[in-house]
């Protein structure tokens, strides 16, 4: 008896939809086991983690606040991953974007008018995109592995931020705390829908919808998908892999930078040494759980945001370390990638040396 993966003739539409659901189910199962091992009633643990945050106004608002940057970064990353550009450094692009977006309110606090916010957002986009250009150019010019370079630049960006808020950008009236001055009202993103969310959320949803349209309907979206699936066919179509690498990194970096600026301007109102609970990394999971599709990413963003709030919930309510949130996020990515195998393969049990039908078979 052995288990075989048999290649499907075409990819399964059903499994494309089912794969993330199966993955969420398996993650919940694993989480239950972890809760049980930690001596917590698994049912209660799962309830506190996944359900309770949705039952109260404040935790729902907190979920939306955390989902917003995840969705925005995830959308940019989806374009990278669809086109075979492995940008792992969105966290750094987020941080540099936040720093660029803060130039105006920190260095020119008296510049307060209706242009302040738009200028901040634009500088955030530029900052993130510039930071993303480093791995992109290294890849196109020197064939460096973008996974390594983009990841390493995350730490460089973190240290830069640390230096700024402890050094030149420290608040003169801040009792030597490592934080920048508080942003003026003109530099703060307003709340909308009766204070339920900041303006960042509708901006993010609109960007995701536009991107969904671009990917599904335009020649640029076609180019992105062709290059990801078959670079040789892409070059036969006359698309340039190098230009697309630059484009996708610029887009992902720009969106991450925008997310960074909107977080500091919308919820923190100042620059701090730690402005992100790992948004840039969690967004990788969001992108894959959302099937690299902006609409799916909106949903996935909320699921992952839940894990941040749920992690705090089980820590305060049940005494389980909130590190469990990272464990569950990691499990989720693991299961999504594993379940994606089912899109192109089906599982078959066979007895030894059964007649071998035509088709590619790999042994597991």
């Amino acid at each position: 008896m052995r288990i075989e993966l048999v290649k499907r003739k075409e990819h399964s539409e059903l499994m494309s939809l089912m794969s993330p659901l199966i993955a969420v189910g398996l993650t919940a199962l694993s989480a239950a086991i972890i809760f049980a091992i930690s001596g917590v009633n698994p049912a209660l643990g799962l309830y506190k983690f996944f359900i309770e945050p949705l039952t109260e106004q404040w935790s729902l608002e907190a979920t939306i606040e955390k989902a917003t940057p995840l969705i925005l970064i995830g959308c940019g990353l989806a374009v990278c991953y669809l086109s075979n550009n492995w940008n792992i450094g969105a966290e750094g692009q987020f941080v540099v974007g936040a720093m660029f977006g803060s130039i105006l309110p920190v260095m020119f606090p008296s510049f307060e008018n209706s242009l302040t916010l738009p200028l901040m957002l634009i500088s955030g986009v530029i900052g993130g995109a510039l930071w993303a250009m480093i791995p992109a150019l290294l890849k196109t010019r020197f064939n460096t592995n973008e996974i390594l370079t983009s990841l390493m630049l995350v730490y460089v960006a973190g240290l830069l931020l640390d230096y700024l808020v402890r050094g030149p950008w420290r608040d003169p009236d801040g009792f030597n705390f490592p934080e920048s001055r508080i942003f003026s009202d003109a530099a703060t993103l307003p709340d909308v829908f009766g204070g339920m969310m900041s303006l960042a959320t509708p901006i993010t949803i609109i960007i995701a919808l536009v991107l969904a349209l671009v990917l599904a309907k335009t020649i640029k979206g076609f180019e992105i998908r062709v290059m990801g699936e078959s670079p040789r066919a892409g070059s036969f179509a006359g698309f340039s892999a190098k230009r697309l690498t630059i484009f996708s990194f610029a887009l992902a970096g720009g969106l991450a930078g925008l997310a960074g600026t909107m977080v500091v301007s919308g919820s923190l109102n100042q620059l701090l040494p730690s402005i992100s609970p790992g948004y840039g990394f969690t967004a990788i999971i969001v992108a894959f759980l959302g099937r690299l599709n902006p609409i799916g990413i909106i949903i996935a963003g909320f699921v992952l945001a839940l894990s941040y709030i749920g992690g705090e919930g089980v820590q305060s309510g049940l005494g389980v370390s909130n590190k469990i949130a990272s464990v569950i996020q990691g499990l989720l990515l693991f299961y999504v990638l594993a379940c994606d195998t089912l899109i192109l393969y089906r599982i078959r049990m066979v007895s030894r040396r059964a007649a071998n039908p035509a088709g590619e078979v790999s042994h597991v």
């Binding site: 003739k9 036969f236 006359g238």
Partner: protein, 527 residues
């Protein structure tokens, strides 16, 4: 038809009797089918101990399929393999190695970051202590005239030495049969001579060698016996030392006369549509071929075919003409306009069309629908597929229907993913996609590679019809039957050199075979 030849050969080559106690490997009636294609059709092959046995055949003749069954990486659909007098089932490469069958692949599977001894240790079932292994590697490699330094890092070694590692790795397992797939294609002549000495020494020790090569002089020089495959069947066996490269070539390509459709209708030759002028390009990778001073004029109304054995620069030539590889502007002229440095879409807009050798992954994206694959090559040729940046699904779908009907592309449901079509149907689609445009210049690499006879006939006729309607067609093919069927002029490519095109009527298979085996180079160098 193989059996009669077989018995003749038996008596003719007495020193290498094909039967008796010397038999090491004896395959009987091996059959392997891939979908519609019979890759091996009841193949009989006997290899004796201590024999260097050549396996000859054009590309697609079924050589690789056959040796993969010996090496356990493919399971035969029918037939038997006898090893040393016992019937065996070779389930996987490990089982093959246990029997004493080793294989040296054409493309190496070495880890560049590791050193020689580490690479070899990885491939051995029980490598033991590294120091002892390093010593063994040194001894064995020196003994066989393939000296290796066990501590060298693979990344620093030239291709010839890397092949040595593969061979020594094979030798350390004390094989009784070594299968070599085109071993000299990556070697310099000096390195090849060294390899021949090693092979002769192995043979004298009783180890058998199954040698796949396109270089006929080489086969003639070192092999004791040759089996020739054609379209999956054994068509001949011979003692290569008693043959000439020309007779071997004619056995490979078959000498039957084929009805020539192209000659039925005389072409009305027009202006030069595609000109290549001293086209040269360096090899991009160690496995690529450099192009050397290739010149060619392709006129409206004619089909020019480029014959040649695989890996002699066909892919590189195609990429240069299509624009996927850029060269100096004046090296390529489309209707007189220099375009060597222009991209593929610029050339498409100049009414050129291209069909690459690989259908899946180059000519078409496997996971995309046929209608999307139409957008792939026609998005900028003014076919209304893209309006203001938006892809028109409706127009692409309409075009897909049109091509499907005109070229009889059969599919299980409408607009499937490219990967689900059979080879022949996908080829009809990929060719049809370009012919649908009525291009002025068509460049097509391996138009009917791995395609069933019906689809092949349809595609060939379409190519001839296109040329007769006033377009210029350049066909790159390894199938001589096909070339003689459709070409008005034939040129031969060998190691990146192209021979002068000659009228097909004046060409013989023997002459093409000799040009393939290196004649094109000398001619190309003079030209």
């Amino acid at each position: 038809m193989g059996t009669e030849n077989h018995s003749e050969v038996d008596t003719a080559s007495a020193p290498f009797a094909r039967s008796g106690k010397d038999k090491l490997l004896d395959a009987q009636g091996l059959t392997k089918r891939f979908g519609d294609i019979l890759a091996n059709d009841a193949v009989d092959l006997t290899i004796n101990k201590g024999e260097i046995h050549a396996l000859l055949g054009e590309n697609g003749a079924g050589k690789s399929t056959l040796v993969k069954m010996f090496y356990g990486s493919l399971e035969p659909d029918g037939g038997e393999i006898w090893w040393d007098g016992q019937k065996v089932a070779i389930d996987n490469p490990a089982a093959a190695r246990e029997l004493g069958i080793g294989m040296v692949f054409q493309h190496f599977s070495l880890f560049e970051a590791l050193n020689v001894v580490e690479n070899i240790a990885l491939a051995l079932p029980n490598p033991g202590n590294m120091k002892d292994l390093a010593k063994r590697i040194e001894t064995v490699s020196r003994e066989y005239g393939l000296p290796l330094n066990p501590s060298d890092i693979v990344a620093d070694l030239p291709v010839g030495i890397r092949q040595r590692i593969e061979i020594v790795r094979c030798l350390l397992q004390e094989p009784r049969l070594i299968i070599m797939d085109e071993p000299t294609s990556v070697l310099t002549p000096q390195e090849a001579d060294q390899l021949f000495l090693t092979l002769q020494r192995l043979a004298s020790e009783g180890c058998a060698v199954l040698y796949i090569s396109h270089r006929l002089e080489e086969v003639q020089r070192i092999c004791h016996h040759a089996t020739i495959l054609r379209h999956g069947q054994v068509v001949n066996e011979c003692d290569p030392t008693k043959e000439t490269p020309a007779t071997l070539a004619s056995m490979m390509v078959g000498a039957e006369v084929i009805a020539v459709n192209a000659a039925a209708q005389k072409p009305a030759i027009g202006d030069i549509r595609l000109g290549l002028h001293k086209l040269s390009a360096p090899a991009a990778t160690p496995f690529a071929t450099a192009l050397n001073n290739i010149s060619l004029e392709l006129r409206a109304g004619e089909v020019v075919a480029i014959a040649g054995v695989a890996g002699n620069g066909q892919g590189e030539l195609f990429d240069a003409i299509s624009g996927e590889m850029r060269v100096a502007p004046d090296m390529i002229l489309l209707d007189g306009a220099p375009c060597g440095a222009k991209g593929i879409n610029w050339r498409r807009k100049k009414n050129a069309a291209f069909v690459p050798e690989e259908r899946l992954g180059h000519g078409a994206v496997p996971g995309m629908k046929l209608s999307q694959n139409i957008v792939l090559t026609r998005h900028s040729t003014g076919d209304k597929l893209v309006n203001g940046g938006m892809v028109s699904t409706a127009n692409a779908g309409e075009m897909e229907q049109r091509i499907k009907q005109a070229f009889d592309v059969r599919m299980s449901h409408d607009d499937p993913e490219a990967r689900s079509l059979s080879g022949g149907n996908l080829q009809k689609f990929v060719v049809g996609r370009e012919l649908d445009r009525q291009p002025g210049v068509l460049v097509i690499n391996q138009p009917t590679w791995g395609v069933d006879a019906g689809a092949a006939a349809l595609i060939r006729q379409a190519i001839i019809d296109l040329a007769r309607s006033g377009s210029a067609v350049l066909v790159i093919s390894q199938d001589l039957d096909e070339i003689f069927e459709i070409a008005d002029k034939i040129a031969v490519i060998s190691r990146g050199f192209l021979s002068e095109p000659e009228p097909a009527a004046d060409m013989t298979r023997e002459r093409v075979g000799l040009l393939m085996a290196g004649g094109a180079e000398t001619q190309g160098e003079v030209a």
